[in-house]
């Protein structure tokens, strides 16, 4: 069997008395797109934040490329090639575009002094070649706060791409996007697959997930309720199962 890019074994997370996740087993293969589905409060975001190192699991083990990783933190996860497009976008809106692209990962010398010219150059290149910002109103020195929802999402995505991500996590990326922007995003996720990378894709919209994912994992009340290969299941059937799980906690 292929080595997993990422594997969680019996991962649980409690916040005080509340058990957000219980004994989660989750694998992400290399060059695989996994869709994560579940109702509000099912634990999707908690799971994501464990993978990105923002939360530490209460118990359980995390493996990257078959190697166990202890005390995963955000910088450590980013070093291991995890880049995340957060639901809340994780932008600093009063700051310039180039500061946002390099947020938390500023290019600097060993003394910590910033290489501003290179960051602005790279930002300009990413803007014109990847983000498709052609408007003259947008420059590396523009403040991100005045961007549209789609442009902000573009910043969050391009940021994930710049740093040679092996695993790209997309947490509700279509929220607040227009139809055209959503189509662009779905294409982008397909592009991740073609580039040989892996991704975890979370979305409310089953159709978006179904269209791009190789496999769908359903989370319910902090547990993995089941998983399906998209080639083995129809989208209507999947939808019916989702509703049933949300109501009864069981698939059948």
């Amino acid at each position: 069997m292929d080595e997993c890019r990422l594997e969680l074994r019996n991962v649980s997370k409690s916040f005080g008395e509340v058990k957000a996740l219980e004994d989660i087993n989750f694998q992400l293969g290399s060059n695989e797109i996994v869709g994560l589905l579940g109702d509000n409060g099912a634990g999707k975001s908690t799971l994501i934040k464990i993978i990105t190192g923002y939360y530490q699991p209460t118990s359980g083990e995390i493996y990257f490329n078959g190697k166990k990783v202890d005390d995963l933190s955000v910088p450590k996860a980013r070093e291991l090639g995890v880049e995340t497009v957060y639901q809340e976008r994780a932008l600093a809106e009063l700051q310039t575009l180039w500061r946002n692209i390099f947020l938390g990962r500023e290019l600097c010398n060993s003394w910590g002094f910033l290489d501003i010219q290179r960051m602005r150059d790279e930002t300009h290149r990413l803007m014109t070649q990847t983000m498709g910002f052609t408007s003259h109103a947008v420059s590396p020195d523009s403040r991100v706060g005045k961007f549209s929802g789609g442009e902000k999402q573009g910043v969050a995505i391009v940021r994930a791409l710049f740093f040679e991500a092996e695993i790209i996590v997309l947490d509700e990326p279509t929220m607040g996007l227009s139809l055209k922007e959503t189509a662009k995003l779905v294409n982008f996720v397909k592009g991740i697959k073609e580039a040989g990378k892996s991704a975890i894709f979370i979305d409310h919209n089953i159709f978006h997930v179904y269209n791009v994912a190789d496999r769908v994992v359903v989370i319910d009340r902090g547990k993995v309720a089941g998983e399906f290969l998209t080639k083995n299941i129809g989208v209507t059937e999947l939808m019916e199962k989702m509703v049933r799980v949300a109501e009864t906690g069981k698939f059948d």
Binding site: A92, L94, G112, Q117, R125, D141, L161, N187, F188
Partner: protein, 346 residues
């Protein structure tokens, strides 16, 4: 789509050059230009209404003598406020640093050389300030208490500690005048430019470089702008804030040393009366209390506006009673201007 975009950090790329445009510069530096406008306008008003005073060199020598004592603390305070925190305890840190100074000076009597003793005492003062700043930051970050509240508490605590440790006594520091540190810290270059002004310029430049050209400064802006985003992207916002408080602790202790050397005397009330001037300099300079925006240049100019108003009111021929009224008027007007400029800049 993504094949050409995957990580090309090392690839040689074309330099991005910005076409020169006055409008762009005006937008980017609106805060600095705004306060510069206020500064120049006030200056012209002062010169026109009291030409004898404001066209002679003596007034500027006087400004450079007295303003640096609080302006120097306004620089690290700007960094603290940009990180969306507040510090009210720095006047007490000034005094507490000098308590550490006098303890170490008295405790090293076995060393013959006054210069060595004073040197050790200065180090002790700076260290005490840094530690107190660290403690402020630690309490704020560890327990998640708003810094405004914590530093109201520590402000009383350290002032109290000063009074307890010195029994409220004041004493002369005449011995410092024989050491090299006296001319280095508060001497006058060519009999005109006071050394404290040079130290203010040094701290201002270091503060500007830290804030604008160093990773620490980048993280300060990000922490103040949106600490949740910064955390999600791996910035240790707690440590950023603790370091900001250590910085203002260090510089406050240094300001305490400067002022005490200048008067060659220790007063347990050292620092009283500097709180509002320093805060006003920061906000006058366009730093937002909501965090994420602010400039060192603005604060620097703000401090000189604050420092000049008092002398100016008297020189213009108004009584000293007018000083505070004019202070208030200019501060409120400037803050309104900054808010307006910020909204337009977004």
């Amino acid at each position: 789509m993504s094949s050409e975009t995957n990580g090309t950090a090392t690839k040689v790329i074309q330099h991005y050059k910005v076409p020169f445009s006055l409008r762009r510069i005006a937008r980017l530096y609106s805060a600095q230009l705004g306060i510069l406008g206020v500064f120049v306008t006030l200056w012209i008003i002062f010169i026109v209404s009291a030409p004898d005073t404001f066209l002679s060199g003596r007034i500027y020598s006087a400004f450079m003598t007295s303003i640096p004592f609080f302006a120097i603390m306004a620089i690290p305070l700007t960094i603290v406020v940009i990180a969306k925190e507040m510090d009210l305890s720095f006047p007490s840190i000034m005094a507490m640093g000098m308590v550490a100074f006098s303890f170490v000076y008295d405790g090293t009597a076995m060393i013959g050389s006054t210069t060595v003793r004073v040197f050790l005492a200065i180090i002790a003062a700076l260290l005490a300030g840094t530690i107190i700043g660290w403690l402020n930051g630690f309490i704020i970050v560890k327990f998640g208490i708003p810094s405004l509240v914590v530093t109201i508490g520590t402000q009383f605590f350290w002032r109290g500690a000063v009074l307890v440790l010195t029994s409220g006594a004041n004493f002369p520091l005449t011995y410092i005048k024989q050491t090299i540190f006296y001319p280095i810290l508060v001497g006058k270059i060519g009999g005109y430019i006071p050394m404290q002004m040079i130290w203010l310029i040094v701290v201002t430049i270091v503060g500007w470089v830290l804030l604008n050209r160093h990773r620490f400064g980048a993280h300060v802006y990000l922490t103040g702008d949106n600490s949740n985003s910064a955390e999600l992207m791996g910035v240790n916002t707690g440590w950023v804030r603790i370091r900001a408080f250590m910085l203002i602790g260090l510089i406050s202790a240094f300001a305490g040393v400067l002022y005490s050397f200048f008067i060659a005397y220790f007063w347990p009330s050292l620092g009283d009366g500097y709180l509002l001037n320093t805060l006003a300099s920061v906000f006058l300079g366009g730093t937002s209390v909501f965090g994420g925006t602010g400039t060192i240049l603005g604060t620097f100019l703000g401090a000189f506006i604050i420092g000049a108003i008092e002398a100016a009111t008297v020189a213009i021929g108004l009584t000293g009673f007018w000083t505070q009224l004019i202070y208030g008027f200019i501060i409120v007007l400037s803050v309104i201007m900054h808010t307006y400029l910020r909204k337009r800049g977004e």
